[in-house]
């Protein structure tokens, strides 16, 4: 990404805004130096997106879609789910959801979708302005919900929606599944040429697949540093640093960021610097973050000497990426994108969680039952039971939502967490 003088712009935008300095929690270790780098990178991404409209074709993309195929056509890609998380972290979720609800969207629907539709109706966003898309690009490898949501957007914007249909892996992936997905990718090319008014460049596409693979593998190495005791970062840091692999996958900027982050984390591991000062217990998180509770939870767990060292969610952007292969880009993308956790059966999820629990030496599991996310949440009660039985570690389920804090009860969550803490501290 080009340097647009973002630090200067950020400083300028902060002028006149009085912010109370946040009191640092004494239980936390030193913050990551790469945090400011990340803020700059993502601010640049959002800033550039404002100017992309008209200059480049703009695509709104779901987090699990094979974005690599869009990049050779020069699409500027924007991720509504990432924007939803940002709105959630800034506690704008209920306000934007309410905008969508006023237009008939039920409160039981995914809150990322309601935030996005709320933005459509109101124009409200914490990032100033979002680029109007020329194309919607979705894959149902993370949920069917994104397709229902993007269908609504397609209707409002009157723009094309391209779906990458990934057959759910009830069992093993089959040759027919792979061929179907490869053919879909091939069929997309003429459509993308038409929309972008650019020719497909196969060589460039292969290079992009290579960059995406390298960035995802580096992200995997970043997460692996949390195997160290003490862990050099928490899962709350990882949730934040996830943004580039979601939004900038296939671009050199993401790879550069993770290289810098990895170097910092390796240094911290070598020096024995932990993300929390007294890491006594190591935990695993299941499901998407509760974005509006990130800071509170980071403090709450750190004060008890508990550190989240792994999560199924953050792992999702590195788990299957090993399948990517520049020499067979279509076939390898079909595998990499359809074998992701949410497109795989629950037996796979159980095995994955057991492996992560062992590899990261996890002492307890916190499961977020997210009202917004059915494919992530349906089955969690049985997962909890099976993991408790098989691995004999304490587990707890918190009923909440990813961005809509109206679906979260602090009192109820704390009662469950207190019981969990007691069991863990035993």
């Amino acid at each position: 990404m080009k340097d647009m003088g973002v630090p200067g712009i950020m400083r300028f935008s902060r002028m006149g805004k009085k912010r109370r300095p946040r009191k640092k929690n004494a239980s936390l270790g030193p913050p990551l130096e790469c945090n400011s780098r990340l803020r700059e990178l993502m601010a640049t991404h959002y800033l550039l997106s404002r100017y992309a409209q008209g200059a480049k074709p703009v695509a709104w993309v779901t987090s699990g879609a094979p974005v690599e195929i869009l990049r050779p056509f020069g699409f500027y890609t924007f991720y509504p789910e990432n924007h939803g998380a940002l709105c959630g972290a800034q506690k704008m979720g209920p306000e934007l959801c309410a905008e969508a609800e006023e237009h008939g969207y039920h409160q039981d629907l995914c809150s990322y979708a309601r935030i996005d539709l709320g933005h459509y109706f109101s124009g409200k966003t914490p990032v100033g302005r979002l680029p109007k898309p020329d194309l919607l690009f979705a894959s149902n490898n993370i949920c069917q919900t994104v397709v229902y949501w993007y269908k609504a957007l397609a209707e409002y914007w009157k723009i094309p929606l391209i779906l990458f249909d990934t057959p759910y892996n009830f069992r093993e992936i089959s040759k027919a599944d792979i061929s179907y997905m490869v053919r879909q990718l091939e069929e997309m090319i003429p459509l993308l040429e038409q929309i972008s008014k650019r020719r497909f460049r196969y060589k460039r596409f292969r290079e992009i697949v290579g960059i995406a693979k390298e960035a995802s593998l580096t992200w995997g190495e970043v997460l692996s540093t949390m195997k160290a005791r003490p862990s050099p970062m928490t899962i709350f840091d990882a949730f934040t640093h996830l943004a580039p692999i979601v939004s900038l996958r296939g671009l050199p900027a993401a790879l550069e960021h993770y290289r810098a982050l990895l170097a910092e984390l390796e240094k911290r591991v070598a020096q024995g610097v932990g993300a929390i000062k007294n890491e006594r217990w190591r935990l695993m998180w299941d499901n998407i973050a509760i974005w509006y509770k990130m800071r509170d939870f980071a403090n709450l767990f750190a004060e008890r000497g508990m550190n989240f060292v792994t999560a199924t969610y953050t792992n999702a952007w590195t788990e299957t990426i090993g399948y990517l292969d520049e020499t067979k880009p279509f076939e390898s993308m079909a595998k990499a994108y359809s074998l992701v956790i949410l497109n795989n059966n629950l037996d796979h999820r159980l095995q994955l969680m057991e492996r992560l629990i062992q590899e990261f030496q996890v002492d307890g599991l916190v499961i977020h039952s997210a009202r917004s996310c059915k494919p992530y949440s349906v089955g969690q009660y049985d997962l909890k039971r099976l993991i408790t039985e098989r691995l004999e570690i304490p587990t707890v389920v918190i009923e909440a939502d990813i961005t809509d804090s109206r679906a979260y009860s602090e009192e109820q969550a704390m009662v469950r967490l207190e019981a969990f803490f007691e069991t863990l501290e035993g």
Binding site: Y105, L109, Q144, V147, A152, S179, D347, D382
Partner: protein, 364 residues
């Protein structure tokens, strides 16, 4: 008007096994190739809304999951599935997708589970090829349990499927034009027999119903139903009482699956594919909302309906997402709409009755 009393579902299924050696399969909603199953001597029994109280399923599923999924699981965990020889899970939505995995991977009910993934819109050449491959793959998997698919049998049952569709089309057509003298309750009680009857019993049942019900409909106000399934039936009875005739429907369990145009293909695989790709617009195949709206409008025009009732199952994401657009589109055409958000098997509350009555008054 003749009343159609079906035998108890369980007695019927037991008899099917005893007399014809049929394998009884529990099939979850919604799109699956039933002609293929019939041809393999499998009798599919659809699991939409078993009349059970929800209790054990709550240990497995959150309260924000729709009742169709919860009731389906309740049916299994209450050991009501002992009569079945297997399960088939089509890929309908996120919740049914994960339900299939809970059952197959975690609960292991001791019966084989099969799965059927149907390609989603937008359809391309690859979708057609994949659908045929899925049919062949399902047949091969089922073959290990029940014996190989006989092509001639498949052809015959594809034709029977066409016969069922043909009678259904005629029933719907007569109803739309006010030439079917049957109450809303009778109509849906009869056509929902298609969820478990073998075509050899279903076709005569539908034909008899058709012949006995031909006749001019008393002057009643027509409406369209859209949503998932007509349960609780007390709502249909209330509509009958209020002199409201359902002129047509866009219900997933009914019209969306039954009103398929005829296929000219001789090959049964091709015929099934053709029917799948030409079924009415539906949320389970990701049809564009504008196509759904056009379809609803054509139903309104075809039956001279005065309003549209959205009969939604609580927490049904696919339906809830399309609803705001559809309501807006219908309102633009001056058509009143009513949304009823209910659980299958729930009692008709006073509040719901009042809302329906108020809607009917508005139509008048």
């Amino acid at each position: 008007m003749t009343e159609f009393h079906s035998p108890s579902r369980k007695d019927y299924l037991l008899k099917q096994r005893e007399m014809y050696g049929r394998h009884i399969f529990g099939v979850f909603p919604a799109q699956y190739p039933r002609e293929l199953l019939w041809a393999m001597n499998i009798l599919p029994v659809e699991i939409w809304d078993p009349p059970l109280d929800l209790s054990y399923a709550s240990a497995h599923l959150q309260s924000y999951i729709c009742s169709i999924v919860r009731l389906g699981l309740e049916f299994i965990v209450q050991d009501k599935a002992d009569i079945l020889d297997g399960f088939l899970f089509p890929h309908t939505c996120d919740s049914i997708q994960n339900l299939s995995s809970i059952v197959n991977d975690y609960l292991k009910p001791g019966k084989p589970c099969y799965f059927f993934y149907h390609p989603k819109w937008p359809y391309r050449e690859s979708s057609h090829r994949f659908y045929i491959e899925q049919l062949r793959d399902l047949a091969a998997q089922l073959g290990d349990q029940v014996g190989d698919l006989d092509y001639t049998q498949f052809q015959q049952y594809a034709e029977k499927g066409e016969e069922v569709a043909s009678v259904m089309r005629e029933l719907y057509s007569l109803r739309a034009s006010g030439e079917l003298c049957a109450s809303n309750v009778e109509f849906y009680r009869t056509i929902r027999q298609a969820e478990f009857l073998h075509p050899d019993d279903l076709i005569p049942l539908l034909e008899t119903f058709l012949e006995n019900s031909r006749g001019s409909q008393a002057s009643e106000t027509p409406v369209i139903l859209t949503g998932v399934l007509p349960n609780p039936p007390e709502i249909l009875a209330l509509l009958d009482e209020l002199k409201i005739r359902v002129g047509d429907d866009d219900l997933l369990a009914c019209g969306r699956r039954y009103l398929v145009p005829p296929s000219q293909a001789k090959d049964p695989f091709e015929a099934l594919a053709e029917r799948y790709f030409h079924m009415p617009p539906c949320t389970t195949i990701n049809s564009p909302i504008r196509e759904r709206l056009e379809n609803l409008i054509s139903k309104v025009e075809g039956s001279n309906a005065k309003g549209v009732i959205f009969w939604i199952v609580k927490f049904c994401e696919p339906e809830l997402f399309d609803m705001p657009h559809l309501i807006e589109g219908l309102k633009k055409r001056g058509l009143p709409t009513l949304v009823i958000d209910v659980e299958p098997n729930q009692e008709l509350t006073g509040q719901l009755t009042t809302r329906i009555e108020a809607f009917v008054e508005m139509l008048a």
